[in-house]
């Protein structure tokens, strides 16, 4: 499994001065990857590619966009109508955000199912959560830029969340706005930050990869690899598997871009922002809906905000809330069922978040919110202690795979 020597004389000369070639060889050829990774492990590299697509399309869009309250909407429509392929770039960027979140959420739930956050990968998990938080900030500010009705009112509602904090709340909100309402200064700074944060994400992704390569990928069995028979080089095996996954991803993504580009946006965002008229039904983008539901489920303003942020921050201590010694849900019969309940709970929260806060939606939202925290704070620690796990296989290699095979749902 040793890397082939560098044969090209120029590359050798260059590598002697800047060891990028040997670094790549080390990462691709020598870096041992578990041989049993399934397709759920494709989503990490897919997320990286999403980030690249977002930055590439974002940079060229930025060349055409004007961050000013009286021109932002018009400049976006100019992109759609007059710029060469402007419609394509904008639809790629707009729907790319949704695809990015879809991919990252699958990546997160894969980690939850297979216990990828557990020792020694806690910091890797933290860095992933930091990336998720940065993505949310970036996506939120990007959504404001077209300056449609939903852009404006999303900005108003979300920035107003900070007013919930006693004493400092109001000054913070005024500071965020740069005025007494969401207006031109707000739009301008959101644009600056929307351009900046993706590069911060790139930095954290590099750290995420360094942390990953320290102990290597987890795997569907959740047991460490015990020798060379358990692993294969990343390249070519996982490069081609990732490329195939990328092809499937692109089919879904392009179908959305070319045939249903506005499926995931609210029509009202094609009406220019009007600070005097609130749309009757304000909803965030789909990837924020579960948090929005948690916010609305709690009748107290401050507690609602705390619960919403808490629902994410709590994930930082997940490695310690999960008391089980076993990583993979394959060998945890109770947790495995609870995982699906938790996933369903998150989807229910999203559905509640989409609907107006009336009637039975309020009750359902409150139950789902309570269960969200119950799962993480109470059920996970207890189940980890009391659950009788199934016997773990001796190694990743052949004989044990038979038993594990039928578990793949």
């Amino acid at each position: 499994m040793s890397a082939p020597a560098i044969n090209n004389r120029f590359l050798k000369w260059f590598d002697d001065r800047l060891p990028v070639v040997s670094f790549m060889q080390h990462e691709l050829h020598e870096y041992p990857t578990p041989k049993n990774l399934n397709y759920w492990w494709n989503f990490g590299s897919l997320a990286g590619i999403c980030l690249v697509i977002m930055i590439a399309t974002g940079v060229v869009l930025a060349m055409q966009y004007t961050p000013h309250v009286s021109l932002a909407f018009l400049s976006v429509e100019r992109i759609m109508r007059d710029v060469n392929y402007g419609w394509l770039l904008r639809y790629l960027h707009m729907n790319g955000a949704s695809m990015f979140f879809l991919v990252v959420y699958i990546h997160v739930f894969r980690g939850l199912y297979y216990g990828s956050y557990k020792s020694p990968r806690e910091v890797l998990w933290w860095l992933g959560l930091v990336i998720l938080l940065l993505m949310m900030a970036t996506a939120f500010m990007g959504y404001v830029l077209p300056w449609g009705q939903m852009s404006f009112w999303a900005a108003t509602v979300i920035t107003n969340l900070f007013s919930a904090f006693p004493l400092v709340g109001e000054p913070i909100v005024t500071w965020l706005w740069g005025g007494f309402s969401v207006d031109n200064p707000t739009l301008n700074r959101f644009y600056a930050l929307h351009y900046l944060l993706p590069f911060v994400i790139v930095g954290v992704v590099v750290l995420h990869l360094i942390a990953l390569h320290k102990h290597g990928s987890n795997n569907p069995l959740g047991i460490p690899h015990k020798g060379p028979q358990d692993s294969i080089p990343f390249h070519p095996y996982y490069t081609v598997k990732d490329l195939f996954g990328l092809g499937v991803f692109f089919i879904v993504y392009m179908a959305l871009v070319f045939f249903a580009p506005n499926m995931l946006v609210e029509p009202i965002n094609y009406v220019p922002a009007d600070p005097l008229v609130t749309p009757p039904h304000i909803v965030p983008e789909w990837y924020f809906l579960p948090y929005y539901a948690i916010l609305r489920s709690i009748p107290d303003k401050l507690l609602g905000v705390i619960a919403m942020f808490g629902s994410l921050l709590i994930l930082f201590v997940l490695p310690w809330l999960d008391t089980s010694k076993v990583r993979s849900a394959r060998f945890r019969p109770i947790y495995k069922k609870l995982f699906w309940v938790f996933l369903a709970d998150c989807i229910i929260l999203g559905w509640v978040g989409y609907n107006p806060p009336e009637g039975h939606f309020i009750v359902i939202g409150q139950i789902a919110t309570a269960y969200y925290f119950l799962h993480l704070l109470v059920i996970m620690p207890i189940v980890g202690k009391v659950e009788r796990t199934r016997p773990l296989p001796d190694s990743i290699s052949a004989p044990v795979l038979k038993g594990a095979h039928k578990e793949k749902a």
Binding site: V60, R81, D82, N84, G86, P236, L243
Partner: protein
Amino acid sequence: MASTVHSTAHGAHGDGGTRRDFLYLATGAMGAIGAGLAAWPLVDSMNPSAEVLAVSSTEVDLAPVAVGMALTVKWRGKPVFVRHRTDKEIKEAEDVNVAELRDPQTDKARTEKPGWIVVVGICTHLGCVPLGQKPTDPRGDYGGWFCPCHGSHYDTSGRIRKGPAPKNLAVPAYTFLSDSKVKIG
């Protein structure tokens, strides 16, 4: 990215080796073509957009420009000098010995109608706007235009006569729609 795939061809040899190599090669080529095509929209978006191209020609009413007067119009973001030349200026422009010019061109080749000279008002040296449109402006040694940046002198046909500029002032494409109306671009 996909081109990394075919380097994997040097794996196991044996039966079906050629067919496999072909598959790797074809897939790599397909990926390279796809990536190239996908990059094009990003590049092309930086080319002039439809609303820029739509104003790439402009119509100018010449009726108010008396003999000896000049008019500056903006065309594609640049100044275009339109001067209604006097008979003296026309004669000066036509009498020049073309062979002696740095950028040899006859006045006839540079005008549609002898009375009107239309040039892009950008000095061919480093892109400054020469003086000479207003009656009070310095017009240089040859009665045309004078570039204040590095001292290029242009004659009444907009040809470079003295100074660092290498070429004559450019003549845009234009047509007279009538005696008093010209379309530039």
